[in-house]
Symmetry: D2
Subunit: 280 residues, 4 copies
């Protein structure tokens, strides 16, 4: 079930700039890159490396004095999402959490979990199992927040979304993360390519750490969970932004695509208490 993924980004450049891009698929234990190609025009030098803020393959690129930069990335990626039944998912107290998961308990720029703990306790505190809590969180967001393009901007955080009740995938993910952390469940931001997402775009959702495994949840219900190709994870969009620009670069066009033959999509309603694990 390999995915053909691609993205084309075109930027106008008004002054010499440096950009960080995070558009590559990751290589993980369950995600293999069969082939990939990145084309940058004009032929600028760049370097690729991970940042320690999560999982990612950033590229850093200097524009120099060119007036325009075009990126074209294509890859064929195979993933092995696993569906785990509820019985196999244990609860882990903070005392036994993997150390690597602990930072994902702390509040971050867009996920002010410290200010949402009473809300989270009231809404989800009656559920005993963290899996049930996270499922309930994603369902609550789906049911209570309207997906509206343009309703929010780059400064919008989970604290705003609780009240304003509208946003896009980024906002849905931030709110999910903040509510999980408020319940002492580690949670992180996921960006990726999403097969069958309509319209095609980069997608954001979130992973929650339950029983020391990271399960993926999409409160928007817009993307099949088994059709995701991971680009990056981080604490929130500040860590896993598609593009971070220093200088003067302006997005002129963007095309994203992800297709797969014989793909059998798996949505929230197909899971019935099971959870999806992208990487073990």
């Amino acid at each position: 079930m390999p995915f053909q993924i691609s993205s084309q980004l075109s930027y106008g450049v008004s002054c010499p700039s440096t950009a960080l891009f995070s558009i590559h698929a990751l290589t993980t234990s369950n995600q293999k890159i069969l082939e990939e190609k990145l084309l940058i025009q004009p032929d600028l030098t760049f370097e690729e490396f991970p940042l320690e803020t999560g999982q990612n393959r950033y590229i850093r690129l200097e524009t120099g004095t060119v007036p325009q930069v075009d990126l074209s990335y294509t890859a064929t990626v195979e993933t092995q999402p696993q569906i785990i039944s509820r019985d196999e998912i244990r609860s882990t107290p903070v005392a036994h959490l993997d150390r690597s998961a602990l930072p994902y308990l702390f509040p971050s720029r867009y996920c002010q979990s410290d200010r949402l703990w009473r809300l989270a306790s009231k809404l989800f505190g009656n559920l005993a199992h963290p899996l049930d809590q996270v499922i309930a969180i994603a369902d609550w967001i789906y049911e209570n927040i309207d997906y509206i393009s343009g309703a929010t901007d780059a400064a919008t955080s989970a604290f705003d979304t609780v009240t304003q009740r509208a946003g896009v995938c980024r906002d849905f993910a931030h709110l999910g993360i903040a509510l999980c952390r408020a319940l002492s469940i580690p949670a992180r931001y996921f960006t990726g390519y999403a097969c069958l997402l309509q319209p095609q775009d980069f997608h954001a959702c979130f992973e929650a750490c339950i029983g020391n495994r990271w399960f993926v949840f999409d409160a928007t219900r817009l993307a099949p969970l088994n059709g995701l190709v991971r680009i990056a994870t981080g604490r929130d969009a500040a860590d896993a932004s598609i593009a971070t620009i220093f200088g003067g670069m302006f997005l002129q066009s963007m095309m994203v695509n992800s297709i797969s033959q014989d793909f059998q999509p798996l949505y929230r309603q197909d899971l019935d208490g099971q959870a999806v694990l992208l990487d073990p």
Copy 2:
């Protein structure tokens, strides 16, 4: 059913100051002052007048160089709260609202109704009658917000309380007002003396304008609605503060009391769809 109300406030004065106090009972069509007495020590000159921001009897007092100011107010006040059955309460569209009610549709310092309309529509938009909406608002606040002294401060607004889920009577009232206005129901802040409130203190709740009459609601459920003696109304606590100090005055002690013989308290649970009107 007259109420014996009283309040004693003592302030230390660190520099010559001007204070506005709003602690007098109002005279309204349904609220009569049988007797009252205000004693200020030392014997400072002051003036009493209403501000046009609502209903009130402010006194303005200059301390000069005295180190201490004590206010003692006592009154006997008779009220005639009316219990109106749901059948007699009509809905009024904005087009036919009394002009005097229109300003209470606008957002104010602590009641940012402009940012809560989607929340209000989602929670209460399915109810057809504004009385049902306001009852549901007060019930929702009671059920979802914790009454916790010290959880909030003078800067806390309805926008915060939606997420932080804790507050005192002032915060409960602000949230009720903001949610009403977000549904195009005029709403205003009410401060008063409250018989059987435990512990005794000044109380805040809110009035909503339905069918061009102002009904009173207390989302804290701490005070019987027929035991309220009106001090002031306004758009929010900015208009109807008990004390507004310009200079250096520090509250040292405060005692508030309201008692009545033969008082039959009427709480939320006694109403069953009826609403309480303090003034017609």
Copy 3:
């Protein structure tokens, strides 16, 4: 020096709606309407009245089922702005403020003066005379805030603008008001027609009460102070909005104009410590 003012507003109507419009010139002691005409198409019934939240001439209009509403207002208005020299402007302590000015000391939706008092004291507390303080406030805003269309939205308040440092006339006025009130100087929001404003639009600025007279200040420096025709005043834009819509009406086009023959514009730099009084 009469001004020919006009405004045309066209709205699409998606459902039966009620609107409040505030586009008429006011009649005041120094502002006389020589002639005026309001044309609403189609010929809908409406009523005109003031709201007690400030000075204004609101009209309330019901659309019924029409798909489109066009308003056209034209007037010839004579004003007599006065230029008052600094020597004639006294300071008035809160104890001697006109009662009608006191509400303009309180914080409001977009002017959270309660949260800005330390900032205001630090920036302007060293100036002894309130006129110098208000001039310094308007100058500081001009020098520190960028005028950028689209940088803010209807939820932006003075608290945001302090940090975000960008906005439009509405934001400049809100910040001026908040800083004045934080210094115990009453201040209110002013909307009007503005001769020589480029591009022509409704304009917002603010009035501060010094020595119990209301002087006008424009921190944007975009409009000559003696070319203003008053539409409304209020505590902030919540009180003095050009249009408040209940229902579904969408602005399709707006044209505003104000011209005068032989008009001698008076800008900030022409004043040299004097202040402009629109009404005594």
Copy 4:
């Protein structure tokens, strides 16, 4: 010039809890621990490890059912702070920043640099060298923010402090970090022991990355820069908190101390354009 550092923390425990503590001195190239001792009473098991969110030595401790936990940490630590002259400090564009510094350009929970860039540009954009910018940032904070215990709480962020103009060392550090990042200068939060700090307490300040070296700045001017012993660094207080509690533990008492014989303190005013490097 070794420092004798110590801290004693006593917690009441109301239910079985897990705590993360960050009170150990770090071992770095310029900071050597000559001896140290941690005593926990009762004798609970705990583990020590670093989190990848910065530099730190967290301990994780489970209380079980004990009613009280006391921690006592003492150490002798030698540091070698370097004073670097302005001439030796180069500017590094983002394109040549060490990769490890890049995450410290991103906004975080308490340092919303994305919302402060216009403010930072206006205040400090005219300075060409990043060292001058950071010195000016620390000076501006010192001059414009009041150090007031209790003025802020755990939710206060740099965005608030810009306007509220009061705070403690944590708030001063957050604002410094946010302003640096807004100018594309990586900046991180520093917690440590501080010799001659009055009164003795844990201290927070910030490090900025200039020329790919991390220099330390203390906008409070309360602690000599050469008297700091590093406990942890991170993006902000969310990463480098002294104690993070999951469960019910309540601080009952805290004593912190740092002394050194023959210590020659170095304050801001002694530096004259030089900068202090704790670690190379």
